[in-house]
């Protein structure tokens, strides 16, 4: 009997991975041999260094220290049909976040603020979202990102900048996949959106907004942002291009549209029918 994945859902990544995220990952993996090369680099170089850094600078959370987190990870992996079993670390940070990385040595790093601010149900959703990131092969592009960073100065400027913009674009779009995974795990649009904005506004403010209602004030704000025109729109686009995160207005709108389009319900239905 599952404690967190109570409906015993089984959701394959291809059911919900955002098309722009999938396209970027597929484009990399379709190059013959590239996955093998990346796996080799991952196993023999990049992640060895990361593991040393994590072990030295973050607190490792073993099953004995926090069985709840490990149980959530196991159930999330089962839900998203993957066998990934990441190491878990805790890092002191004011930002509410869970970082995931690693092809050969998958690991998750929880920020202290995350563990302080969320209840168990939301934590389950966040961990599930992190597990989905592994299954969506996000670590592959993160590794390429690291290689480009290390190669800075070796590659011609225009090439490295073009690659950087492409990586930024993917980094932003992967958030859409993770937001969908969070929603699928929680099964509650209000809770998923509140987590997205957690800490950005006082809890009392977020609790007064009904995010699934299109007359809510954050919906209006997002609409105003996305409908900006002329030079405002140009500056906005340039600003986003250089960022590795989508604005909350974009993420909320994307998730809301997916939720009300019926695709969310379809994924849930498939997750049940596949099990049967």
């Amino acid at each position: 009997m599952n404690k967190y994945n109570v409906n015993n859902k089984r959701i394959k990544i291809e059911y919900f991975q955002h098309p722009s995220d999938k396209m970027a990952v597929d484009a990399v993996l379709k190059v013959p041999g590239v996955e093998k090369v990346l796996e080799f680099i991952s196993e023999n170089a990049a992640e060895k260094l990361l593991a040393i850094i994590n072990d030295a600078s973050s607190l490792k959370i073993t099953e004995e220290i926090n069985p709840k987190i490990h149980e959530m990870i196991r159930e999330a992996a089962e839900m998203f049909c993957t066998e990934v079993s990441p190491s878990v670390y805790l890092d002191r940070s004011y930002f509410i976040q869970l970082k995931t990385d690693g092809m050969a040595n998958p690991h998750m790093i929880f920020s202290t603020a995350l563990l302080e601010k969320v209840d168990d149900e939301t934590l389950w959703g966040v961990i599930s979202s992190g597990i989905a990131a592994f299954e969506a092969k996000h670590a592959t592009i993160k590794l390429i990102d690291k290689i480009i960073t290390y190669a800075n100065g070796v590659l011609p400027f225009t090439v490295s900048e073009a690659l950087r913009l492409a990586i930024n674009n993917w980094k932003r779009n992967r958030e859409y996949t993770c937001d969908r995974a969070l929603l699928l795990a929680l099964g509650d649009f209000e809770k998923a959106t509140k987590y997205m904005l957690l800490g950005e506004a006082p809890d009392s403010t977020l609790n007064r907004i009904r995010f699934s209602d299109p007359t809510n004030c954050f919906y209006d704000q997002s609409k105003e942002f996305l409908e900006r025109k002329n030079e405002n729109a140009v500056i906005q686009k340039i600003n986003i291009l250089t960022s590795t995160n989508h604005p909350y207005s974009s993420r909320y709108t994307e998730l809301y549209n997916w939720y009300i389009s019926g695709e969310y319900d379809e994924v849930l239905e498939r997750s049940v029918s596949d099990e049967l």
Binding site: G199, A201, R208, F218, Q221, F225, I235, N239, I240
Partner: protein, 263 residues
């Protein structure tokens, strides 16, 4: 609620050094006109875009506790607009303001979550005071030239120094605005001590005169260094600001403004 200062105008409490610095910018050939034209446009394009996209807009309905204080402070300081208010996750305690045409505040969550109402009156008072002044007309561009935009490096150093000096002195006026809003000198100084790094609980029993005495020095080299470092410091040294605000309070400047406008 502190008393309303009917008809208060910023010239009554603006720090003389702020007035001098802003008039130096105005006297720089053509700069005033140029900044007036592009300052708010730049703000509309950049700051507003960031606020709409990345922060959460607060409203009377979703954040009545915060808006009650903002309404109070606007009344106290005789500011007739209600700014758009956003919040964001940040450990800073400084409210960002922008937009002369469409005034905007961005409040860090650490400020809302960790400070009592009396401190919020001071913090919002500082922000509203900036909105009341000429601050916004220049601020977006000043900040951009000093901190953000690459082309700033090609501007004459004199302009950057003018901006840095003015931004630093404008903080002194904002501190006075904060004090007029909260109307409690100890609260105002305690908040500034927080800026300097002292946890809020530690400020409760600090003697302000002793704190200031410990900061003051007759060492000429230390004073020279402080003055040199101040040249390019946009916020001013926090302890200098504490001294300035306390002097204004004890020398009667604060009391004079209150006496003139409280009825």
């Amino acid at each position: 609620m502190p008393v309303i200062l009917n008809g208060l105008v910023i010239e009554e409490y603006a720090h003389p050094d702020d007035m001098a610095a802003i008039s130096a910018i105005r006297n720089f050939n053509g700069l005033d006109t140029l900044l007036s034209k592009i300052g708010d446009k730049a703000n509309q394009m950049l700051n507003r875009s960031i606020a709409l996209g990345y922060y959460v807009r607060l409203t009377d309905e979703t954040s009545p506790e915060i808006f009650r204080i903002i309404h109070d402070v606007c009344k106290i300081l005789n500011y007739d607009k209600i700014p758009e208010v956003y919040s964001k996750r940040s450990y800073s305690i400084d409210i960002e303001v922008s937009g002369a045409e469409k005034p905007t505040m961005v409040i860090p969550d650490a400020l809302i979550n960790n400070y009592d109402e009396k401190f919020l009156y001071f913090a919002f008072g500082r922000a509203i005071s900036k909105l009341k002044s000429d601050y916004l007309k220049f601020y977006t561009i000043a900040r951009a030239t000093i901190e953000i935009v690459e082309f700033a490096k090609s501007l004459p150093d004199a302009i950057n120094l003018l901006f840095a000096r003015w931004m630093q002195k404008a903080e002194l006026t904002a501190d006075r605005g904060g004090l007029l809003a909260c109307q409690d000198c100890k609260t105002a100084i305690r908040f500034l001590m927080n800026y300097a790094g002292m946890p809020v609980a530690f400020t409760e029993n600090v003697s302000i005169p002793e704190y200031i005495a410990a900061y003051r020095t007759n060492d000429k080299v230390v004073n020279l260094c402080r003055n040199l470092l101040t040249l390019t410091n946009c916020t001013g040294f926090y302890n200098d600001r504490i001294v300035e605000l306390f002097n204004w309070y004890t020398n009667g400047g604060y009391g004079d403004v209150l006496d003139e406008y409280m009825f």
